[in-house]
Subunit: 393 residues, 4 copies
């Protein structure tokens, strides 16, 4: 990926982007906008940034939107934009979880490609319905499991596909934070509020908010399905209505075994997503907080430190690398990689051509449904007092 | 602990030590001997280093033992030494697991204090019998769960006792190796051979060999009982007769939740024992391969790097520190700390006085029995197809 | 700094930006463009991206520039843009070093604010002339010593200003790379070519290319002037026309002593810029390749791990932080911080108001001249066979 | 090296060892004794542990020495022990620096092999005289530059000898501590007292105490002579009579260039000795505080993490390794390696046979003289106001 979206390939072609959610005070909306801007492949031209008209308007003006393209009703936005000559070509959905489904449905049915935050829906049923809608709409649907955008995550996936690790035996994945160690949601904290409200977040708390990221990352890199889980979901903070710590054993396809830990009450952990995979011939280790290095450990040989942009990195990782080795890239660059991949998918669809194969690594509606099945099975296992529970198929 | 056992306290008083097991070609016997020697509190004077007379003799001569104190029958050694004026005051048991019980029994009943390698016995029944024998014998019994000898492990325990972490919520412990990634036991490798032979090692393979170390470490530092486990034991290497990977969920006293992973097939892991504990107010992290630092993470404050011998370390850790901060200590020093603690317990018992309280941190026969109950419950959970299983009490 | 330039403060006001240099095949030009784009404070509207007309045109079209604002002569660009109603408000200079001075002069004299890459000029004389030109022009001049844009670098500076370290004693700064370990310039490598050509790069090779970054970083964080240097400049690669390794002793104001090492032949170093500062009361350590953590070491207390966005970080660092702790930011974000600071300086100048004080941390023409005096003194010391040499004042 | 000195080679043969210095309250004496004990190759049987008779006696009794072999006069000890049938075979000298020369002379002339702490003498003249005395005496003289005893330090040396790095270009060595950041010597601190007293420590303070360790380490691993130095010695703590920070540029044989920093006022550094060496084809990095890993960085390939006992380690390192990879060894083990090497040299000399070649890696009287020449040249360069100064030859 070039720093400029189209560098070397002719004049820039920026997609017209709309956004639902992400008004003043939101966090992830601004991340999506910056990600869209990074490689200059999008221009934000419309938004229903809030359901409250005044807030939607203030937020839209601040971002330089034209007054007639500021909405507070996502349904009206979908139809209005679909009817314009210069209407949006894609929409980014950055609302709380419970709105992902209806918003995605509205825009897909209006013929507009969708980029949606995770977890995809509140329930497996919604997820399966969305799979159908996407299929019928023949539109692009990208899910921002953003950690798959890191170059070395993609390199790790490539190592496994190439057989460098041999058959996978053990998967260790974890995602630890500490920001919910206290009952933050009782003090008016907006992010904590909706994330701990079952009506907005779905059946899982920590498991949906970050457990699905960990799950998706392990699935993405190994390429293996998770068949059964045995889960313990705990709420440590008194009065909290959702789980804040998740411990899961996993049985993966082909006999691999895994452990997944997600916690929002682990003091001293900021955003500690770590993945370790061990195969017959080698292992690999990667940590999101130091994303520019991956440890490759061939059995019987010295471990190798693979750096983003450094010696031995695969083409698939190089493609999403902007600056040379030793110039650290981070969270926003990885997030932007999904946006630029999505731009390629959308542009290709509109042009009626096949997209660059590497761009198809962006998580799909199927990945989103798989994540919902994981939450569902883990919640079921926990509710049953533990024990192995198969993921629905 | 001074570098010399009795420095500053009067003339050195070295205990007469015997050893069972540990002949030529063994690993852990030499570690025990070096540990006994490090602080100059023991003199090795007798041994049944092998059950094969020739090998016992060659091994004994090499170590400078007198011919009449080289045995090949541990029972004869126990009675002969018990009958000598200058007989051994303590015996170190470094045989394969299945002999721990009979050897310990013989020496305890002969009135000789025992230092025994882990896991303590093959079964819970043997373990409980040994608890009784120790109790009746009124002799010292120390179990070399050597990782409890690290100064910063003891400091971590002290932090928790002092309430620095608040109520414990989450325990993450793991012990990963890779040396059994291939069927090493089929090629005549002595260590691999007995460790994968159920007759010598007991019901568990990896779980007994290193899983118990991880379990014991978590118990030692948290001070919390493990009440229930849900376990998945796997054998990845074809033809192997014991588990080589262990994944366990744990419910601890007081509501804490834990995960334990032990593996001998995790490529790139040499001896990676790691412990992380998170409480209401702070967390701590420690890794055996970098044992001279402990990370203390108070909630809402910058993490602190506590170093062995450095600022803020508790007295209990300082006592087992030989050289100043920045001069790394390691595995052998930690192992030797148990030997020197044992010397204090034995010397105090013989003198009819109370031992230095800090020396009582050495793992006991009760800790050994607890470890056997953990193996037993994990094996049972796994055999039952997973699900929560209570430890026997 | 918000992710959007003007978030929370009213509608976005994007500055019209031009660029000189940075056509197809260049590296740093694309970095400048992405940095300008990141916080949405600039729109690129004009450029003399190459002195070769065809290349300038192709590069400009690719970036979406209007045909009439694509130039190949920077002088013509300066006058044409100065004469337009919608002319550029700022120009980014990203040419090889020898063109920095004439280009900056042309635009400043045309009344256009300048953002210029480093090292500022080829000689001290040019640097001093530029100081005068900037002064007379009353225009903003920002020098992209981009490493000063890292939040924790600014936090380190703040710690020293606040007296946390006490009087500074020792400064250790280094910048090691390995990409010029072989005679890359002889194989047509564009970057290596001009950087090792004295006509384009100036008197110093490695010292100008990366040594000045290290020097500037140490000066920025300590706030101390370097008074004398004793330098050894070496060319290890046969046939190379400039130094590729630089070792310097430094005497700083107030009695502090320092060492600076810059190398482009240190195998295994990608972009290893590290700064360590020790004062009477504490020390600090920071490394560019892991920029989201800073180690603060108060004397007699455990070292503290300060994280970007984490506990204890100063306001000045928080201002240039886009995403929460644990979500790594990197090189591009730090570079973009200078651009957004520059946008504030330029916007404030045009509005006739004082800028946000924090934005004045951007390196100035005086910092650039100071860097040139460092190169000059180091080259002189080396030429004289070593020994202390005072920096010109 | 086996854990037992003679394992596998026949019965243990322990050398009779005496010690001068190292009475109660000393630090390094206890380290020497533990090192002698670790591999069971020595028995301490005599000592002049203090020049004060009462203290000598108390210290000797505490260590279990026979009353008639406790001395307070090292000259009397040398002649008395030389005259005994069971007299000592080797003496360890652990006094303050100014006594190294006379004590070594006395024992060597009495025909007794010597193990001596560093720096070897107070002056170059003494050092050269000692070279002569050793040569005439035909006795073994080992200097405990203990950091050369680390397995991975020896592996690093072997890598360079084998040509893995190619011609050496740059050497970066540093040894930073912080324990003298305050005027500790004014508060009765014994270690600080003599180390900052020119009469006992010699011309250099920090440079002699730890600078020589850094220098020796760089020389040992590279195998290159240092030809010239340019040095800045500073005393930061008011009232201190010796340097407490040392910054040196070095020109090495063959054109390599180096920097050496030693400091005892660098807040947050405990015992941070680090060595980095860069050659035409690869680099290596090693840090004493994490001595069980060495980073090998072949140009154009991923860096490799070499672990003590792990894959790819040379025979010469394996020989001084006691426990498997992942079981950390530290300072005491490295120190003991010198003792066990010395035991081999002494035993071989007495047996009239050639020693194991690997044992000859122990630093010699020539290495000690070289270290004194380094101090001498650095002090001279500093006294002359900086500039290159050749080491005497």
């Amino acid at each position: 990926m070039s720093i400029e979206g189209a560098a070397g390939t002719g004049a820039i072609r920026r997609l017209r982007l709309g956004m639902v959610g992400g008004g003043q005070g939101a966090f992830i909306g601004a991340v999506h906008r910056l990600s869209a801007r990074m490689d200059d492949r999008y221009t934000l031209v419309a938004g229903a940034l809030s359901a409250t008209p005044e807030r939607a308007r203030a937020s839209g003006l601040e971002l330089g939107l034209a007054e007639d393209r500021i909405y507070s009703d996502f349904g009206k936005m979908a139809s209005a934009e679909a009817g314009r000559e210069d209407g949006i070509e894609a929409v980014a959905i950055v609302t709380p979880n419970h709105l992902h489904f209806p918003v995605a449905k509205a825009f897909l049915e209006a013929g507009i490609d969708v980029i949606c935050d995770k977890p995809m829906t509140r329930t497996v049923e919604e997820a399966e319905a969305l799979v159908d809608i996407v299929s019928r709409s023949e539109r692009v649907f990208c899910l921002t499991h953003n950690y798959t955008g890191y170059p070395l995550v993609r390199h790790g996936r490539e190592l496994i596909r190439a057989g460098t690790l041999g058959a996978i035996r053990v998967v260790q994945v974890e995602y630890a934070q500490d920001w919910l160690s206290t009952p933050l949601e009782t003090s008016g904290h907006k992010q904590a509020g909706w994330r701990t409200d079952p009506a907005q977040t779905g059946a899982g708390g920590c498991i949906g908010d970050i457990g699905t990221h960990a799950y998706n990352l392990a699935r993405f890199v190994t390429g293996l399905a998770v068949e059964e889980v045995s889960a313990e979901l705990t709420t440590f903070v008194a009065g909290r209505r959702v789980d804040d710590d998740v411990q899961v054993l996993m049985r993966l396809a082909g006999g691999a075994r895994g452990m997944l830990w997600a916690s929002q009450v682990a003091a001293g952990n900021e955003n500690s997503l770590k993945l370790r995979i061990y195969g017959e011939r080698a292992g690999l280790e990667w940590a999101q907080e130091e994303p520019n290095r991956l440890l490759l450990t061939p059995l019987g040989e010295p471990p190798q430190v693979i750096t983003r942009g450094g010696p031995g990195v695969s083409e698939v990782a190089g493609r999403v690398t902007r600056v040379p080795a030793g110039h650290p890239e981070g969270y926003l660059e990885a997030f932007a990689n999904l946006y630029s991949d999505a731009a390629e998918l959308i542009t290709a669809r509109r042009a009626g051509r096949a997209p660059d194969a590497a761009a198809t690594l962006v998580p799909t509606v199927e990945d989103g449904a798989d994540g919902m099945r994981f939450i569902d099975a883990a919640v079921a296992s926990n509710a049953a007092g533990g024990g192995w529970t198969r993921l629905r198929t």
